[in-house]
């Protein structure tokens, strides 16, 4: 955790590089030590609800955006939680660009492959068909097979892309994995 600095974090090299875009304005940045974050499952929703409410506070209908953003952010945070990354920090930054919010989640790379696998599945071609196939499989065959168990564990992000029209991307920055989510205001 950094000491308070005279340099605003938005002007420091941000892992996502989003701050470099001149039309993007910073909304909020939150960092969580992984150890405390992993203390409780409810931390995922505490963080999602708070950050969503904060980032929606200037909208004409803040409740609508709060509900959507918290829903999407929570799935991403739950994935981080399930990935059980090692010690380090989880950093969530939210920027605004015109009619959308850019959300970046950076977490330590250590841990299992869930994050990479989940985003890869969610960003493959025809996410809708992939989701529907996997979902139907879940209902007919409760996941006895490893494939289905894995699919079920990863389906949170896939659903966001397939049903809710969210855009996702993943990149690595040093010792951090960074998940990007684009959330339209409406």
């Amino acid at each position: 955790m950094s000491q308070p600095s005279s340099d605003p974090p938005s002007q420091q090299p941000a892992p996502s590089g989003l701050a470099a875009e001149s039309e993007s304005t910073p909304v909020v940045r939150a960092s969580f030590s992984m150890q405390g974050f992993m203390d409780g499952w409810l931390h995922c929703q505490h963080a999602a609800d708070y950050l969503a409410r904060f980032a929606s506070s200037d909208r004409f209908d803040p409740e609508q955006l709060t509900t959507r953003l918290s829903t999407y952010l929570n799935e991403a945070l739950e994935l981080v939680f399930r990935s059980a990354p090692g010690p380090g920090e989880l950093i969530v930054t939210i920027h605004r660009q015109h009619d959308r919010l850019d959300v970046a989640l950076a977490c330590p790379i250590a841990g299992d492959e869930r994050m990479r696998r989940s985003v890869r599945r969610a960003t493959e071609a025809d996410a809708v068909a992939t989701y529907r196939r996997g979902f139907a499989g879940l209902l007919i065959t409760p996941p006895a097979s490893e494939d289905l168990s894995e699919w079920e564990a990863d389906a949170g992000l896939l659903e966001l892309v397939a049903l809710h029209g969210i855009t996702l991307a993943l990149h690595e920055a040093g010792d951090a994995l960074v998940l990007h989510m684009t959330v339209p205001h409406e």
Binding site: S10, A30, Q35, G36, D39, R96
Partner: protein, 198 residues
């Protein structure tokens, strides 16, 4: 780190601690606002306070099984965070306000950092020294009375005195130079609370 001009009260200059590149303390959460770009209203201050309180109530080191003890913990942390955040946002002249809460060695620390005009630093130093000089309960009582007699007088420091008197918080402040802006000073306010054993 910014060059320290002055440290007053129970400010821990070594917190959050780092040792050989490994960051500590074990549990820490920090939120940065950008009030020049995204306005921070009073409702967001209280939402921030509630968030920190609920979050840390679920952290292992602070967890309480007894609902009354849990409520007390939440009430205390929420009050302290709210006071520090509101002050920091109200008096901020820089681009960011940063709030940090962490728990380490049975101590819960709340910290808020914001830039202020350098010209206001000296009078503030005096005010803070005054707050720390006497018995917080007596000072609080005197200021509440003064406020009642003349509500227009704008008595300050009630929030800090309440923290010290009612919540047993130890307060400290750090004034530091801002590298690229000699007109501003970085003020960091710290409140230290004991995490009571169940």
């Amino acid at each position: 780190m910014n060059e320290c001009i002055d440290c007053i009260g129970d400010f821990r200059d070594d917190w959050p601690s780092t040792e050989g590149g490994v960051r500590g303390p074990a549990v820490c959460v920090s939120v940065v606002f950008y009030p020049a770009d995204f306005a921070v209203r009073w409702s967001q201050c209280s939402a921030t306070a509630d968030f920190f309180a609920e979050y840390f109530a679920a952290v292992e080191a602070c967890r309480r099984d007894d609902p009354a003890a849990r409520d007390e913990f939440i009430g205390t942390l929420s009050y302290v965070v709210n006071e520090l955040v509101e002050n920091a946002v109200k008096f901020s002249v820089g681009e960011t306000v940063e709030v940090t809460v962490g728990v380490e060695d049975d101590e819960l620390i709340v910290m808020a950092a914001n830039q202020i005009l350098a010209t206001t630093a000296t009078p503030l130093v005096e005010k803070f020294r005054e707050l720390l000089a006497g018995d917080p309960q007596e000072l609080l009582f005197a200021r509440v009375e003064a406020n009642a007699e003349d509500p227009e007088a704008g008595v300050s420091g009630l929030g800090f005195l309440t923290m010290m008197s009612d919540y047993a918080a130890r307060l400290g402040w750090r004034f530091a130079a801002v590298h690229d802006n000699p007109h501003n000073v970085l003020l960091t306010t710290m409140a230290r609370l004991e995490v009571r054993k169940p």
